[in-house]
């Protein structure tokens, strides 16, 4: 009987030594060490990459030729908007100036 016990103890010792030699973890009781958390990959960078970065978004707006020539960034949508506004203003359809709007004139009338 005592021979079998010593056999088990020796097996355990061998396992411990082999774990030491080969750099493995020795955990005979199977205690939870939480090592699986350390084995997980960091996925924060992947989560952040869901949205394109600001520079990428700006690059998408620049035409390819301009990018190759090394020109400055410019916003095509903004230029289009300003051009459209100028056209409207030339036809007399632009927005009112500061203090000449509907609300501003109403407020002036009340004060008087």
């Amino acid at each position: 009987m005592s021979g079998s016990v010593s056999q088990a103890a020796r097996k355990l010792k061998v396992a411990e030594l082999s774990a030491k030699i080969f750099g493995n973890a020795f955990n005979p009781t199977g205690a939870r060490t939480g090592s699986y958390i350390l084995r997980q990959n960091f996925r924060g960078e992947h989560i952040v990459r869901y949205y394109p970065s600001e520079t990428d978004a700006n690059m998408a707006k620049v035409p390819r030729l301009g990018r190759m020539m090394g020109e400055k960034y410019y916003d095509i949508d903004e230029i289009d908007r300003l051009n459209a506004l100028d056209k409207r203003k030339a036809r007399g359809k632009g927005g009112p100036k500061k203090g000449e709007g509907k609300r501003a004139t109403l407020a002036k009338g009340k004060k008087r």
């Binding site: 350390l38 960091f42 924060g44 952040v48 949205y51």
Partner: protein, 99 residues
Amino acid sequence: MKSRILRNIKARKSIVNKELERTIWRYMSRNTTLEPQIRMQAQLALNRTPREASPTAIKNRCLITGRGRGVFNEWKMCRFQFRLHALNGDLPGVDKASW
């Protein structure tokens, strides 16, 4: 819905910032070989980190409108924007079904 998009971007950045800290707290709280008091404190610290820094709390939103429901992950677009772009021919390989 622009504010929703900005909030989502902010949350995603906070996830990256807090990731290392959170993994350390997580490891300490799940490690049963540590003392119970230390594990308890690690769990409390994990609870104290903001909710938006948790990677499971993030939701994939539509890139264009910021809609949170009905988003195709493959195109990062909600169903209506997907339809508009597909009909416009902006999405390579997407065709309207007809038989």
